[in-house]
Symmetry: C2
Subunit: 87 residues, 2 copies
């Protein structure tokens, strides 16, 4: 599945729209962010996506985990948020 | 229930320990953060708390939402993370 990559400059509402669309289509989304500003935008996007999905009667939760990623040949620790419907 | 307030200077591992302790005792924890650095520390703490709770066979998820809080007479928007076992 495609991972939604969030930067410090990403708009939370745009990311939220992407999350909501992927949840509707695939039932699960993955969001990846590196750095405090990007992580903040990502978690705000999940909060906003929750409101978008109320009309679909889908209640989402997120599961944060650390992942190592390669950025321009350098190892960086990213935060991955797995977003899925509440069971 | 007591809310765990996280600042930019909070240690993620200390917050993670608090989350894990409250989850073990009460089955649900609330974490509140204002600002990108604090939100980042909070979400990292949830990721770390997940690893602490593996030994208890508890798998946690978090639900982010916005809340308005009063800080020294000023309205601020905080991010609240409700942490609970995966159903």
């Amino acid at each position: 599945m495609e991972v939604i990559k969030v930067s410090a400059h990403s708009r939370s509402t745009a990311v939220a729209g992407a999350i909501a669309g992927i949840i509707r289509e695939h039932g699960r989304a993955e969001v990846q962010a590196i750095g405090a500003s990007a992580v903040n935008q990502a978690i705000k996007a999940v909060a906003i996506a929750r409101s978008y999905l109320v009309q679909d009667e889908i209640d989402i939760v997120c599961v944060p985990e650390f992942v190592e990623v390669d950025i321009d040949g350098q190892d960086r620790t990213a935060v991955k948020l797995v977003v899925e419907p509440r069971k």
